[in-house]
């Protein structure tokens, strides 16, 4: 390990508000942005930040996610002394087979793994968020502030602040209080679920927390308050840029629509900070003689013979002759057959919309999730 910081990605959550999309896969494995999966973002950020060793803590429906992240070469994390390690809960000599009981417990149960690398710093990440961030900058900040823990925060509109974990800081950026989803937020600095800890300090705190029967073993609810109570130095690192927690169908759709703007804030085209992903072996995208495309984000393997407007098409999606796809997201290998119309919908992997079928509507309040085959209209 060249860097003195090891990263652990919390990727065990189901993301149940994503409904049928996470029936078979964990939320970090959900597809996004044409060719990516959500977990590509923290993994690529690690690779680009010079972090060599990344542990991925999986739990819910982890088979697909495990096999996906295990090939560390996708993110360039396959040189000697580096790697991506899948860490599901497992039976141990001195403990019964158990699940991860909380975010902190997931780390506690892997202390041996972390100790093997003896890092000075531990970076804790969530596998659920879409953003680009240089963690080496955050580490620099952490070192400059002589902090025991640094928590990345992002300014959110104050009226939405009660949906987040809010950090209250003094004028020097020291965290004085953490409030989980406060009814009356005192600040608009939301925790991004990104922490850098001095490993020795965190290790001690985790060992104590494991023995506490009243703890929920959660970073926000337990570990951070304990450290504040011990008068440790906790600082907030303010992140500026695109960051999205895609917790619902609407927000996942929105995050995809964000890619259609003239000045794409996430800037996926930036070659100096690439987001790496699985390599799809398909021909390039094809447009038929009558194709129409206006404001779209389309990837390889797609075939467009009809009309695509303000939509994002994932690998292998097909739009038949006379079909219309408007304000929608077609995930991998979706087929919209001839004459079908899809409006304000998110169509899940592999779903077929039959000939002439009409799904979704322009004035719907919520985005329609289409997770099952829609029969054609004869």
């Amino acid at each position: 390990m060249q860097s003195n910081m090891l990263a652990m990605i919390l990727a065990g959550g189901r993301g149940s508000r994503l409904k049928d999309l996470t029936n078979k896969v964990a939320k970090p494995a959900v597809a996004y942005g044409g060719k990516y999966r959500i977990v590509d973002f923290p993994l690529s950020n690690c690779a680009n930040s010079g972090i060599d060793v990344v542990g991925v803590l999986t739990q819910y429906e982890s088979v697909q996610l495990n096999s996906y992240v295990a090939l560390g070469g996708r993110w360039g994390l396959d040189s000697k002394d580096s790697g991506v390690f899948v860490l599901p809960p497992r039976e141990k000599a001195d403990a019964n087979l158990d699940v991860y009981r909380g975010t902190a417990d997931a780390i506690s149960q892997n202390i041996d793994f972390i100790d093997k690398y003896a890092p000075e710093y531990l970076l804790i990440l969530s596998g659920d968020h879409i953003y680009k961030m240089d963690y080496s900058e955050m580490l620099k900040f952490h070192q400059e502030k002589n902090a025991d823990a640094t928590i990345a925060v992002i300014g959110v509109p104050i009226k939405e602040a009660s949906r987040f974990g809010i950090m209250n800081t003094d004028e020097d950026g020291h965290i004085v209080e953490f409030e989980e989803k406060p009814a009356h937020p005192k600040s608009n600095l939301a925790s991004m679920g990104i922490y850098i800890f001095n490993w020795k300090v965190l290790r001690k705190t985790l060992l104590a927390d494991m023995k506490n029967p009243d703890s929920s073993h959660d970073f926000g609810k337990d570990i951070i308050p304990i450290m504040l109570g011990e008068n440790r130095t906790l600082v907030a690192y303010q992140f500026k840029g695109y960051w999205k927690d895609v917790g619902t169908i609407d927000s996942l759709w929105e995050a995809n629509m964000d890619l259609l703007t003239d000045e794409q804030e996430l800037n996926l085209a930036d070659t100096s900070w690439r987001i790496y992903t699985e390599d799809a072996s398909t021909p390039p995208q094809y447009f038929g003689p009558d194709a129409e495309v206006h404001r779209a984000y389309i990837t390889q393997g797609c075939s467009v013979e009809g009309e695509v407007r303000s939509s994002v098409l994932f690998t292998g999606a097909k739009v038949g002759k006379g079909a219309k796809v408007i304000d929608s997201v077609l995930m991998n290998d979706v087929v919209v057959e001839d004459g079908a119309v899809v409006t304000r919908a998110l169509v899940a992997d592999g779903v077929k919309i039959g000939k002439g079928a009409v799904v979704g509507s322009a004035d719907s309040e919520n985005i329609l999730l289409v997770a099952k085959r829609v029969k054609g209209v004869e």
Binding site: G33, G34, K35, L259, L260, D262, Q264, L268, A269, R274, I275, Y276, T277, D279, S281, P283, P284, Q285, Y286, F287, G288, P289, D290, A291, E292, V293, H294, R295, A296, Y297, I298, T299, Q300, V304, V312, L313
Partner: protein
Amino acid sequence: MASAFGIVSPTLPGINVRGMQNYRSLGAFSFLGRYRLIDFPVSNMSNSGIDRVQVYVSTRRPRSLTEHLGSGRFYNINSKKGKLQILFSGSGALNDAYKTDIAAYLDNLSVIKRVSQEYVIIAPNNMIYTQDFGAFLNKHIESGADISLLYHKVDDAKNAYAACEVLKLNKQKGVENIDTNKGDKDSQNIFMNTYVMKKDLLVDLILKGRELSKMYTLAQTVNVMLEELDVRGIQHKGFFAAVTDLESYYKANLSLLEPGKADELFHDDWTIYTRTTDACPTQYYDDAKVQESFVANGGHIDGTIINSIIGRGCTVGKGAVVKNCVVSAYAEIGEGAYLENQIVDKWARVIHKNRIVAEEGNVGYIGRDDVL
């Protein structure tokens, strides 16, 4: 298919693609916006279970091809048992006409001799097709022939396949003659420069060829040996294109836009591998109009693209028109430019609202890094 190894043969003398070849060897030519020509023979071999592949590379401008092939890991060649070897040749040749495939094999004869597989499949780097070499080998073994040659039946040989060879076959598919395509008739069996034979026979032929003439190619040597050897043709079906000059390169790309053609080349169970660049999807803006075209990832499109191939990471500005063009990666077609019947090489920038039109049948070429 453990009983055969693969050879991707070097570019033969006489093949000259104006402009493009100044920058890279033929196998490294971009194809359909995302592939390089070499991806087809190497993927065919990999998919056929051949995990020992030798690629012959000329020492003249080898960079892009060797960089692209790398260790071969993108081609799904077994990373432990398998091997993709890049073998160099051509340095010190006094005359370009001496740079034959036989000369390249002679330069590396000890490497060929050391291979343990009994059979060898040889495929060229300038022909685009998919073929199961396992089936090809089986047919060859069943026939009892010494050498089998893959050919494609065409009915437009008068005006195409200029630097290709043609096979004259008897009723039993025995090869009676291998000759250059003189363009005297349309109906021909184009030799796909693809062979199967025993490795030991190849070694004999290499030595024999050198004895006959320093300018002889393997095909010419086999032609001389037709009396002594049982050489048969095996017909290939599906998409086939040969890149021998600028026009054929252009046509090979655009022909895949004809209805049904792409399905003849790409099959779900026969992946064509290539090196990933991790480019993001392509972004289309309000004024984009794209019809009858293939577009690779990483592009920014706000203009009109008709009947064209657009490589990775290209920009087509507002009001720009790209018609009947083959555009290589990272080219920029600026606002208001108009291009018709052009090949645009990598990194070229057409930014001064130029109107560049070539007549049909005489495709234009815009050089790499050129700014217009």
